[in-house]
C-alpha cells in the first residue's frame, strides 16, 4: 500500500480523499493554491504544499506543479479527484515518468476516453448501443460537411469535453455555423483542444450512468445513477437507483459496460454515461475516467467506499468484492449546494458566515464549508453535497427535504431553494422528468 498520497484536488473532494487515506493508514498531502491555504482540507490533511496562485492554470491545472509537489513531499501516489487534471493524459504520463502512481486508469485509457469520438467507436465495437455520430474534426467546414449525414437535431460536442463546455444543440442547419464556431472557441479555452464531433440529438432524454470498478482481470458495476436533473448541462440532483431503469435493463447494461470496460483495458473506477430516449432505449455517450462528484449516492446504496477502492486498485490490490457481493439497499439522492442564486444559477461567491450541517439518520454532508470560510470566485461554486438515503425513494426524498430545511447557510445565496422546489414537485415525485425538467424552475 502507498505511504503518502498527494491530493491534487481542492474543496469537498480533497477532504474526501483525506478521509479515505486516513482510513487506509496512508499519509495525505494536499496540493493547494494560495487562496486555499486556509481551506479545511489543508487544515485537516497531514501535510500541505502551496503550488501556485489563485488562477487554476498556474496551480490546479499545472501538471508541472502537481508532479513537482508530489516529488517534493515524497508522495508515492497522486489522487487527481474530478475536474482539473483528473483525466489529463499529460499528468498521468508525467506521474509515470516521475515514479508516482496516478490513481486512475493508465494513460492509454485516458487518451482513448479523452477522445470522445474514438471512445464511442470503441464502445460500439465492444457491444454498447451508441448514437449515430461523427469522428473528431478540427475544421468547422469539415464539421458542416459531416453534419449532413447526421441530420438535425444534432449535438456539437468537444472531443476533450466535459461539464457542458463546448456543447451546443443545433436544431437547424442554418444555426450550425455559429454553433461550430462558438463551441470550438469554448473547447479551446476550456480544454486546450479545439476539436469537436457531432452526435444525433435525443429530445427529452434521461441521463443515467453506471459506476464500474476494474482490476487487471475483472470489472464489476455498482448499479446506475440518475443524473437527469441538469441546468445548462451541469448536474444538480442525482439519485440511485434511477427511476426509469428496470431490473432487466440494469442487468443488461451492467453486463455490457463491464464487458466493454475490460475490452478497452479499463482499470480503476469509472463511469459509463447513457442517454435513455423516450421509448426507454439507452445510448452510450461517454465514459468518465475519474471519480464523479455524485459518487456518494452509489456509496450510500452499496456500502462500498469508492475512493478507498480507487486507492486499493491503484496500489495493485485486486477488487475487494465480486459482482455477487454488490447489493443495492434502498434509495439515495444527492443535492449539490452551490454558491449560486437559486433560480438563475448566477454565481454568488462570498464569505459563509454560518454553516450548520444537518445530522440524523441517513444523511451525509460532504463539504469543505464552515463558519467564516470563503466561497471563492476562482473555482466552481460547489459548497456542499447533501446526500440522503432511505429505505425507498419516498423516504429518501422526505429525508432530503428535512435535511435541506435544517441546513443553515448564511452569508451567500445557494441552490437550496431550487432543490426544495424540485423535491416538492409532483412530476419529480412521480419520477416524470427529462433533462429539460429544471428549465421550469429556472429563470435567466
Amino acid at each position: 500500500m502507498f505511504r503518502k498520497v498527494l491530493v491534487a484536488k481542492r474543496g469537498e473532494l480533497a477532504l474526501r480523499i483525506v478521509c479515505a487515506c486516513r482510513e487506509l493508514g496512508i499519509s495525505s498531502a494536499v496540493a493547494h493554491s494560495q487562496p486555499d491555504a486556509e481551506s479545511l482540507a489543508v487544515r485537516l490533511a497531514d501535510e500541505a504544499v502551496c503550488i501556485g496562485p489563485a488562477a487554476s492554470a498556474r496551480s490546479y491545472l499545472s501538471v508541472s506543479a502537481m508532479v513537482t509537489a508530489a516529488t517534493m513531499v515524497g508522495a508515492d501516489a497522486l489522487h487527481p479527484g474530478y475536474g482539473f487534471l483528473s483525466e489529463s493524459v499529460s499528468l498521468a504520463d508525467a506521474c509515470r515518468a516521475a515514479g508516482v502512481v496516478f490513481i486512475g486508469p493508465p494513460p492509454e485509457v485516458l487518451r482513448l476516453l479523452g477522445d470522445k469520438a474514438r471512445a464511442r467507436e470503441v464502445m460500439r465495437e465492444a457491444g454498447l448501443p451508441v448514437l449515430p455520430g461523427t469522428d473528431s474534426f478540427d475544421d468547422p467546414t469539415e464539421g458542416a460537411r459531416l453534419a449532413r449525414a447526421v441530420g438535425v437535431p444534432l449535438l456539437v460536442k468537444a472531443t476533450s469535453g466535459g461539464g457542458g463546455r463546448g456543447l451546443r444543440v443545433v436544431r437547424s442547419m442554418a444555426a450550425l455555423g455559429h454553433a461550430l464556431e462558438t463551441a470550438r472557441g469554448e473547447a479551446l479555452a476550456a480544454f486546450g483542444d479545439p476539436r469537436l464531433y457531432l452526435e444525433r440529438y435525443v429530445d427529452g432524454p434521461r441521463h443515467i450512468e453506471f459506476q464500474i470498478l476494474a482490476d487487471d482481470t475483472r470489472a464489476i458495476h455498482l448499479g446506475e445513477r440518475e443524473c437527469t436533473l441538469q441546468r445548462r448541462h451541469q448536474k444538480l440532483l442525482e439519485e440511485s437507483p434511477a427511476v426509469g431503469v428496470s431490473e432487466a435493463l440494469r442487468g443488461r447494461l451492467g453486463g455490457l459496460v463491464t464487458t466493454a470496460a475490460l475490452a478497452a483495458g479499463y482499470r480503476n473506477a469509472g463511469t459509463f454515461e447513457f442517454l435513455v430516449d423516450q421509448s426507454g432505449e439507452p445510448f452510450f455517450i461517454e465514459a468518465n475516467a475519474r471519480i464523479q462528484v455524485e459518487h456518494p449516492v452509489t456509496e450510500m446504496v452499496t456500502g462500498v467506499d469508492l475512493v478507498k477502492e480507487q486507492i486499493r486498485l491503484a496500489a495493485g490490490q485486486g477488487l475487494s468484492l465480486q459482482q455477487a457481493d454488490v447489493h443495492c439497499q434502498g434509495h439515495a439522492i444527492e443535492c449539490r449546494i452551490n454558491a449560486e442564486q437559486a433560480h438563475t444559477g448566477r454565481p454568488a461567491p462570498g464569505m459563509i458566515r454560518t454553516f450548520i450541517a444537518p445530522g440524523g439518520p441517513g444523511v451525509r454532508v460532504d463539504s469543505h464549508a464552515h463558519a467564516g470560510c470563503m466561497a471563492w470566485p476562482h473555482y466552481d461554486a460547489l459548497v456542499a453535497k447533501v446526500i440522503a438515503h432511505g429505505q425507498d425513494r419516498a423516504e429518501a426524498i422526505a429525508r432530503m427535504r428535512r435535511a435541506l430545511e435544517m441546513l443553515v447557510v448564511e452569508g451567500i445565496e445557494t441552490t437550496v431553494p431550487l432543490h426544495l422546489s424540485v423535491l416538492r414537485d409532483s412530476d419529480f415525485l412521480a419520477g416524470r422528468f427529462t433533462t429539460a425538467f429544471l428549465e421550469r424552475f429556472c429563470s435567466v
Binding site: 501556485g52 498556474r58 513537482t68
Partner: protein, 136 residues
Amino acid sequence: MDTDDIDHMVALMERHGLVELEWERDGTRVRLRKPEGAAGTRARAADSGQAQPERILVHAPILGTFYRATGPEGPPCVSVGDRVKRGDVLCIIEAMKLMNEIKAEVDGEILEVFVESGAPVQFGARLFAIRTQPAA
C-alpha cells in the same frame, strides 16, 4: 465600539504628545481629549524628510527546488551584500527538470537569502530580501 481601538488611539496620543485626537471613518467618529497639562509627557520627535530605501521580499513564483547557482559547480548568482539590477538572475527554481531563472524586479542590494541551495520551496515562499536603491 471597540476598546482596543480606543486603547490604540490613546497610545498614539501619548506617543505623539497630543491632548486631543479626532478620528472619523465610514460614519464612525471618535474624539478624545486629555487635560492640557498632560501634553508632552511622552512626545517623540516625528521622522521627517525624504523617501527611504525600502526592504522588499522576493517570493517563489513557482514551487520547485531552489538553487543559488545556475549550474551544479557554479558560484551563487547572488550573495548578501551584492548589488543587483532589475533583470539580474537571482536563483534557479527547478520544477520537473526545467530550470526556471528567477530575476530581480528592482535595483538594490541583497540583504538576506532565506533558503539553502537544494531545498524545496513552495509557491510564495520567501527567497530574498532586497534593499531597494531608488534611482533618485
